[in-house]
């Protein structure tokens, strides 16, 4: 059974029809790169899966459970986490408190101290700044915090919207290593990226979206080699 199975997904922002019968499957324990031009529908796809679109029809199943009929908060509780493009570090809250937000849904079933210690080992940059205001971190550190917050409760799958955007190359490489490690631990990742080259080197499979539809699906290595298709659908 696929970890995430999207079938005939249609989504709208008000009157504008953004996704046109999109279908896509992500298998357990793989990294899938979802690439395409700006405005192709990448973010909308993720937002539909997370329940943040005003209107979405079709079917989205996560580990066999239909999501479209579930409220947004119930989807995270199934083990589906999301790192939004804008990172959404909550102002007024310390780094530690932002991490605690990721544990709220567990309602005390996860030992908070142990979970934060554990995540601090993965993200040493955050460890030194736990009591600092989250929004005072650098862009790259905020991205790390957003990822840490999404994974602290141990999700089965993480949807990442342009995690490499505006981040120093050295941090982008660090992030790539982290994603590989997560995959090896059995976490499934769907990676939306503008940094196509990086995403394809990282991913197992690649999917191209154009005008709200999937137009190409192959192994990431095959797409990496196929400059013509990249040029056609991903060139800015």
């Amino acid at each position: 059974m696929a970890m995430l199975e999207i079938e005939e997904l249609n989504a709208w922002y008000g009157a504008s029809h953004v996704l046109h019968g999109l279908s896509l499957a992500v298998e357990p324990g793989e990294i899938v790169a979802l690439v395409g031009r700006n405005g192709a529908g990448k973010t909308t796809t993720i937002r539909s899966v997370m329940g943040l679109m005003p209107k979405a029809t079709g079917s989205v199943r996560f580990a066999g459970t239909e999501l479209l009929t579930l409220p947004a908060h119930a989807r995270f509780r199934l083990g589906l986490a999301y790192v939004p493009e804008e990172r959404r570090i909550v102002p007024g809250l310390s780094v530690r408190e932002n991490l605690q937000l990721g544990l709220l849904a567990a309602g005390g079933r996860i030992d908070e101290r142990a979970a934060i210690d554990e995540i601090a080992r993965t993200f040493p940059r955050l460890k030194e700044r736990l009591d600092q205001q989250g929004v005072t971190l650098s862009g790259g550190e905020q991205q790390m915090l957003a990822i840490a917050r999404a994974m602290i409760a141990g999700p089965r799958m993480i949807l990442l919207d342009e995690p490499s955007e505006g981040i120093m190359p050295v941090l982008v490489e660090e992030m790539g290593a982290l994603f590989r490690r997560l995959r090896d631990e059995g976490v499934t990742l769907l990676l939306v990226e503008q940094n196509v080259e990086w995403a394809l080197r990282l991913a197992d499979r690649a999917v191209i979206i154009d005008q709200g539809e999937i137009v190409h699906s192959s192994s990431a290595a095959a797409l990496l080699a196929d400059k013509a298709i990249q040029e056609r659908y991903c060139a800015v």
Partner: protein, 290 residues
């Protein structure tokens, strides 16, 4: 004019301000989190006073009234949020405002029908009657009690917001409800409780204020105006602002009453105008936040 009189009047202002803090805090919490300007807040203050009087009369004890009325009116507030306000969230911000404005009238008229037009006395409980000598003057024990209760509530509220999981949800949810949803928090449930909390606070203000005045159906109108002044001065949505500005207004009104009684009501609006001119977002407000 001697120092003792000034001290007494100052203290009287603190007691008055303490009540205002309860009302303004409720208003500010509800606005900060839900974005709803609750125009029924004054009427719910009045309902709190009547509920306190009713329970106190029924049980023969002020203490039961003080305990049960805020809880019962808070629960009533949750019902209001669930049934009347929640369907309006996706619509224009004016809709909840108009709804609560109308609801205020409905509550006032309902109380008028049930308890009559006339004001009713709310006796000070005997154990809190009389005055206490604090060395610098004689102070009414009941007012000391009011200030004490409000201080305890503020400490509990602060601890609840800063030290508990629910408090973290409230603080984060006020800033970014959407990220809370994708982190698995049912924000609608939190809003329900926050509205109940805000209404419970104003009802507590109503019960506490009642023995210092009489209880009548119109008693919420002026309090609502004062609470708005307090939230504007303190900064909309700022809890610290509500506390500081509430005490400030209480003291200012009380001191003005001593020196120029006819100016007492005007002074708070003058203060508000002054703050708006110098610092439009309020003393503790964040600029640019509507």
């Amino acid at each position: 004019m001697d120092a003792e009189l000034i001290a007494m009047q100052l203290f009287s202002g603190v007691a008055l301000g303490a009540i205002l803090v309860m009302v303004a805090l409720g208003l500010s919490i509800i606005f900060g989190m839900l974005g709803v300007v609750n125009f029924a807040h004054g009427a719910l203050f009045m309902v709190g006073a009547y509920a306190g009087l009713y329970v106190a009369t029924l049980t023969g004890s002020f203490w039961w009234g003080l305990l049960i009325a805020p809880l019962a009116v808070g629960a009533f507030g949750m019902l209001i949020e669930r049934v009347l306000i929640r369907p309006l969230y996706k619509r224009s911000v004016d809709d909840p405002l108009l709804l609560t404005f109308g609801l205020g009238y409905v509550l006032v008229e309902s109380v008028r029908i049930a308890f009559g037009n006339e004001g009713m006395p709310f006796p000070t409980p005997p154990e809190l009657s009389g005055v206490a000598d604090l060395g610098i003057g004689y102070f009414p024990i009941y007012r000391l009690f009011v200030v004490g209760v409000v201080a305890v509530v503020l400490v509990l509220l602060w601890l609840g917001l800063e030290k508990t999981r629910f408090g973290l949800i409230v603080r984060a949810g006020a800033r970014d409800p959407q990220i809370m949803r994708v982190l698995g928090v049912d924000v609608a449930k939190v809003w329900l409780m926050v509205f109940g909390l805000g209404v419970g606070l104003t009802a507590l203000g109503g019960v506490l204020a009642a023995p210092m005045r009489s209880v009548d159906p119109e008693m919420g109108a002026l309090v609502l105006a004062e609470a708005f002044v307090v939230t504007v001065i303190g900064g909309m949505g700022s809890l610290v602002g509500a506390v500081v500005a509430g005490l400030l207004i209480g003291i200012a009104v009380s001191m003005t009453a001593l020196f120029a009684p006819e100016m007492a009501t005007i002074v708070m609006f003058a203060l508000m105008a002054l703050v708006l001119l110098i610092r439009p977002q309020g003393l503790f407000g964040k600029p640019g936040r509507a």
